[in-house]
Amino acid sequence: MAKNESKSLGAAKDRDRALLRLEDIGKYYGTVHALRGVSFSVSEGEVVGLIGDNGAGKSTLIKIVSGVTPKSSGSIFWKGEEVEISSVKLARRLGIETVYQDRAVVGSMTVAENIFMGRELVRPFLGVVPRLDRKRMREEAGRLVVDLKLNIPTADHLVRFCSGGEMQGVAISRAMRFRASLVILDEPTTALAVSGAQQVLDFIRRLKRENIACIFVTHNLHDVYEVADRFVVMLQGKVVSDVKRDDTTVEGLVGLQLPRSATGA
């Protein structure tokens, strides 16, 4: 399958290495043409900064990859195979974990319960009934919390008491615990003060050490420049640039986000 599609040897090699590859993704919301043929790929363990103006289509793109909304056209390849990511559940099963600032945690439940939510560990009770293994979940959650240096007293702590950065830490813990291959973060630092943002950048570095890839959506170019290996710039539903970190500067990224006519290029 993959061989038939390849046009050159170099491309084939590239494709095999790609963890996620998007080809010509299109998306309509009714009559709104939000994505107009988006293609790019993410390699294993790579941190990709997805940037672009308001309404460029960044959130739409990640919603498609994380199974929240269906695409209208195009193909998604995961580890070389074409996939239909029809639900969040399926995305998680593939190993794609999405971190939404404070929207994917339940404040009235504990840190441990949140980390394992939807994938609770169970142990047979009376031989047949699956009973939650709270002790193990608490222990594992405790280790993850220490590992990520979260300032949380215990895994029994209610998420309601966590800061915005810590809530994302809870979501990052899910990715670590369930060995995700790709973590998507949509504007994780936007609502955070400097220390919280630094904490989130540390999480991303931590994921990189585990060889977990990241797509980091943001408007804060300084934040993303600290951790990304590559930048994909979107404008009006299209990818307009795809540059390596070493080939650009923060100032260079600013220019890439503007429409062509404005830069005169």
Binding site: V68, S87, V88, K89, R92, T98, Y100, R103, A104, V105, V106, G107, S108, M109, E113, M117, G118, E120, V122, F125, V129, P130, R131, L132, R134, G142, V145, V146, K149, L150, N151, I152, P153, T154, A155, D156, H157, L158, R160, F161
Partner: protein, 337 residues
């Protein structure tokens, strides 16, 4: 390297949280002692036995309401479900299919029929995404009038078998009390120790997050209303034996309000996501305790209703400060304002 250390919750914190979480039982024990000391003949085995017995049929409705509230919904129809179920199944086994379906089969048919009525709510809320208040208000009206359409009188002479669950005793002990505690134990396990319970609390606490984490809200809504319906059916069965007849007014009046009052007094939050079965049981027993106490001091019946309302108000106020206090005890010291 290790800058953050995981500290264990101190034992004094844990004792405080335990007491706050079980405040309803603390209040009940205190009130029980006060009644025992001040009301003559209150502290007798017979009286206490009756208090539990009296709480069992309404207890099923409180459990049902607690589960539905924890899931972030509400069920206005559950008491009418009990009434319609009792009437429909009663007519089936005693009139329409008399001799074809044995009377004792009503014991099984009531929870099943209640479950079917609950499924209607589950379908309206889960599948059609109708607001739970409006959906169950509609079914409340339908079930209420259907009961009356079926029979405007009462079915009497039900026979020992159908009377037994709600009216029978074993070794002098009311069977209905066993049902109350057995159902309570099963629901406690379901809510605290299974994935279903975790999903129920998650969807009640933050449905958007629960959905994003792959919890199927449609099926969870369907299931929780179905369970509430089964409990409504069991309640109908217990009322049947309690009254030794099925009047068209069965489980009417205060029942639906008491189902909310019991759950909320027991610490279940109207906002969803918070509450426990043990608390709900405490809520229903506290209502029963107060009811018995006021009955024995010959408070006028109308005034007893007023007292129930005041108790509810007081409970809401106590719960509010209870939760604030709980937060304060659990909050990490550096964030305390």
């Amino acid at each position: 390297m290790e800058s953050t250390k995981l500290v264990r919750t101190s034992s004094s914190t844990r004792v405080q949280v335990f007491l706050l979480d079980n405040l309803i039982w603390v209040i009940m024990i205190v009130l029980f002692f006060i009644f025992s000391l001040t009301i003559p003949n209150f502290f007798t085995v017979l009286n206490i036995h009756f208090m539990f017995y009296d709480a069992s049929a309404i207890g099923m409705l409180v459990f049902a309401q607690a589960l539905v509230l924890i899931s972030g919904n509400m069920d206005l129809s559950v008491a009418r479900n009990a009434g319609l179920t009792a009437m429909f199944v009663g007519m089936l086994v005693r009139v329409w299919a008399k001799g074809v379906i044995p009377t004792w089969a009503g014991i099984i048919l009531m929870p099943v029929f209640g479950g079917l009525l609950g499924m209607v709510n589950g379908f309206l809320v889960g599948k059609l995404k109708i607001n739970a208040f409006l959906a169950t208000l509609s079914t409340f009206l339908i079930y209420d009038w259907m009961t009356y359409v079926i029979n405007q009188g009462a079915i009497i002479n039900l026979g020992r078998a159908l009377d037994f669950p709600g009216g029978g005793t074993i070794f002098g002990f009311h069977f209905a009390i066993l049902v109350l505690f057995a159902v309570g134990a099963v629901l406690y396990f379901l809510l605290q120790h299974t994935r279903f319970g975790a999903y129920l609390r998650a969807m009640g606490g933050n449905p958007e997050a629960a959905g994003m984490l792959g919890i199927n809200l449609t099926s969870m809504n369907f299931r929780v209303f179905t369970i509430a319906g089964v409990l409504g059916g069991v309640s109908g069965l217990l009322y049947t034996g309690y009254l030794r007849s099925i009047p068209s007014t069965i489980a009417t009046g205060d029942s639906i309000f008491l189902s909310f009052a019991g759950a909320i007094i027991g610490g279940v939050s109207l906002r969803g996501g918070e509450g426990s079965i043990v608390g709900a049981l405490g809520g229903v027993l506290l209502l029963g305790l107060i009811d018995t106490g006021t009955t024995m001091t010959s408070v006028a019946p109308a005034l007893r209703g007023v007292i129930n309302g005041l108790i509810l108000l007081l409970a809401i106020l106590i719960n509010k400060s209870r939760l604030d206090l709980r937060d304060r005890v659990l909050m990490p010291p550096q964030r305390q304002a």
